[in-house]
């Protein structure tokens, strides 16, 4: 079962293009992580949001191009991606929990 028969779509070119995108994003992330000072909390949290967004972008490229998800039936993609909404829920709940533990630590419990 060949999934590489896409009319007019050069897969090899897309693969190398994705490689350069991933490399560029990674270098950008690392430069920011090394050189931007972590003194002001606003800047630090802004950086973290940026890192998370860039990592999600890398994940999108790896899943859609390298793992071929872009070319699969949309319902298949949905059965695989929708369960990750549970992880999103867990992230919110657990960071809320962690924040509460931090408050308790500061208050001296």
């Amino acid at each position: 079962m060949s999934t590489d028969s896409h009319d007019g779509y050069d897969l090899v070119k897309a693969i190398w293009r994705t490689f350069w995108i991933l490399l560029f994003i990674t270098v950008f992330e690392v430069v920011i992580a090394i050189y931007v000072p972590r003194t002001t909390p606003g800047l630090l949290w802004g950086m973290r949001v940026l890192f998370i967004a860039m990592s999600l972008a890398k994940a999108y490229f790896i899943v859609s191009i390298f793992m071929h998800m872009k070319f699969e039936i949309k319902h298949l993609a949905m059965t695989i991606l929708i369960p990750f909404c549970f992880i999103l829920y867990a992230v919110v709940m657990l960071l809320w929990e962690g924040s509460s533990w931090l408050d308790m630590r500061i208050a001296g419990h």
């Binding site: 999934t3 090899v12 990592s55 793992m67 071929h68």
Partner: protein
């Protein structure tokens, strides 16, 4: 899916007789295995995030992870960036192997698979060196954190990178088995290279987990 509707308006993919997702059972089950494994890693990384978020202090990654093998001096995040590049590169060679497989080009599959295996071995060796350096030279273990007061730092780092490294290890093993099978012409006789596609999915999953481990431990 659109052309199926155009040809016979009452025919849907769910009428039976074929896979409604137009994939083989083996490939579908590999996807669902990866979803489950993603939840395992998500659990570990969420634990890390929650605990780290609850502490008033935590070591700064660019100050802790700043060593390169054989070269004295401080190179913040350089070696782990090399490891990320290595894994991305091995993902590229893997997908090129899958592409060669779909064209039934046995020699190209062997070439790209060998490069993928080399990339995986370089990553494992790098991770082993990283562990050695942190444990022996810095004194960071499962019970002692030389950078701040939380032993959780070492516990989380070694557990999560250990699980990831183990996945890379099993991936390299199965890649070695696969390239051996390819070289004997097994998949030419079978008629398709779908096995390479399936282990390709596993290898990309390993790369994907590393993207998030890299994010969690070295960036944020």
């Amino acid at each position: 899916m659109a052309e199926a509707l155009l040809q016979s308006p009452n025919r849907s993919l769910w009428n039976g007789g074929e896979s409604p997702f137009k994939v083989s059972w083996g490939k579908l089950m590999m996807w669902y295995f990866l979803v489950g494994d993603s939840f395992s890693f998500a659990t570990f990384l969420l634990t890390y995030g929650t605990l780290r978020f609850s502490f008033t202090e935590w070591p700064t990654p660019s100050e802790v992870f700043d060593k390169i093998p054989f070269i004295h001096g401080n190179f913040p995040l350089v070696y782990v960036s090399f490891m990320t590049f290595d894994l991305i590169m091995s993902s590229v060679t893997m997908v090129l192997a899958v592409h060669a497989g779909s064209n039934k080009d046995r020699k190209a599959v062997v070439k790209w698979m060998i490069l993928t295996i080399i990339g995986g071995i370089i990553f494992l060796a790098s991770q082993a060196w990283e562990w050695y350096n942190l444990i022996v030279n810095e004194g960071m273990t499962m019970s002692h954190n030389p950078f701040s007061h939380q032993p959780a730092f070492g516990q989380l780092f070694f557990t999560i990178t250990g699980f990831h490294g183990f996945h890379v290890f099993t991936g390299v093993l199965i890649n070695i088995i696969a390239v051996s099978l390819v070289a004997t012409g097994y998949f030419d006789r079978k008629g398709n290279y779908e096995f390479i596609e399936k282990i390709g999915l596993y290898w990309h999953f390993v790369d994907l987990v590393w993207v998030f481990v890299f994010l969690a431990f070295y960036l944020v």
